[in-house]
Amino acid sequence: MTELMLHKGNGAEPLVTLRGAGISRGGRWLVRGVDFSVLPGEIVTLIGPNGSGKSTTAKMATGVLKPSEGEVIRRGGLKVGYVPQKLAIDWTMPLTVERLMTLTGALPAQEIDAALAATGIAHMKKAEVHHLSGGEFQRALLARAIARKPDLLVLDEPVQGVDYAGEALLYELIGRIRRQIGCGILLISHDLHIVMAEADTVICLNGHVCCRGTPKAVSESNAYRNLFGARGSAAIAFYDHHHDHEHLPDGRVRHADGTVTDHCHPDDGHHHDHADHAHAGHDHAGHDHAHHDRDHAHHDQAPKGGHRHA
């Protein structure tokens, strides 16, 4: 871990900071009260079930979506490399891997070659993107994003459609990229419990930040070591977390004390080894902050206008 610390800009200005950021669409909050920042050289992993607001949060961080509340601060002149969750290139557009590399900016030929070599698809340079396999296409997108030498790399489910062995290799590659170009990485994972071992922070989202912590090495868990083998265990980690509240199918929330409320408090639920709940940017005036035995029933009676969760 000491090697990693060398690359983390201690005390450096964050690349991007989200403070109490949320997006509402048609009167419904997609995600709310998100607080985190990404420092140079830091890997932040977002996990959460489908529809929990992971991609929405990533889009706030990149500036594609403007927050409906709270704020998103990007460092001046921040250069972003982005791998979107879904990218379908229309068959009618002829596009080789080489041409894909210069999609958003011109690049010297040797940097294109270096990025393709780093992701292991140098031999695919002249291939049409439509002929690549899922894993190869994902690598091409990653190569395109890193060839720009970004300050911040935003990867939205970069290991989708890749098996566990391939996932471990991609995570190793992402770790290498961080060490080589020293960029900060915001990584979205579709898996709730399996994350990249090198991640510095794991944030679990479900419409709000459910909990945050650090990954636990797979090597500490026998079951997972058997599943992934010795090679996988180095790159893949287990994220062990339990929440004190449960998201019901109808959108309501059942809390540990058995009460059911319409909404979840933005900083509910941490049964986790991390005790530092950063509350910066939150406005909880008037709320009782005793964490786990709070009576949530008052949410139902609260007047809509003045309430944060209305």
Binding site: K86, L87, A88, P94, T102, L103, T104, E128
Partner: protein, 282 residues
Amino acid sequence: MLDDFFIRALLAGLGLALVAGPLGCFVIWRRMAYFGDTMAHSALLGVALSLLLHVNLTVAVFGVATLVSLALLALQRRGALSTDALLGILSHSTLAIGLVLAAFLTWVRFDLMTYLFGDILAVGQTDILMIWGGGVLVLLALAKIWRPLIAATVNPELAEAEGMEPERTRLFFMLLLALVIAIAIKVVGILLVTAMLIIPAAAARRFAGSPEIMAVMASGLGMVAVAGGLFGSLRFDTPSGPSIVVAALVIFLVSLLPFGQRKTIDQPGPGQRADSRRGGIS
């Protein structure tokens, strides 16, 4: 054989094909064929207004096509109807208003066929200047926004995340398309404008290895279609606009023939996921 009017027609047609090629590629890549059709249909309203207000035909058609694309953007933002339904409303209502207005113009001879199918043999020197001047302007502007437009076509969110402005680029592209449709009305007419945009580009896809090559090839194939169509129309005494489109179709059909080592149609690979057409929002 080559009369003066024929040389003028050839010059006008070649100028149009030159500029329609690259723009037509974007119409195909962005799946905007119906949008192009809508703009073209709205041109009839432009024609009626130009006769009513005594303004230049190209200027009036460009103005109406621009208004229609702005109206589409505004209606899309409301999000109440799908884009193709909105385009259907705009397309046919502007066409109908144009025809109704034309009925009031009792003092001018309104030859509908001229506008529907073009009258390339009647182009004058001013028209040729308009086509080439406007065409070069459009090509220069397109070259300037080329990279952002390609990036926005591949994925607007990716383009925006990496510091581009895909919405502005899209609007700019719509204006360029309106301009091309305005200058194309004289050559192939309202009903066949979209054909000049998409058929040469579709034929070029088969042979192109990059977006840039496809754009250049679409221009070239379009010019061949213009020349072939015009000579054919002279030889067989057929209407010139439709003859050009038929020539373009023949080129497209030839491009489908299974020659060379590659298969006729590449199977969409994993790069094109079946569940989303382009940059899905999640």
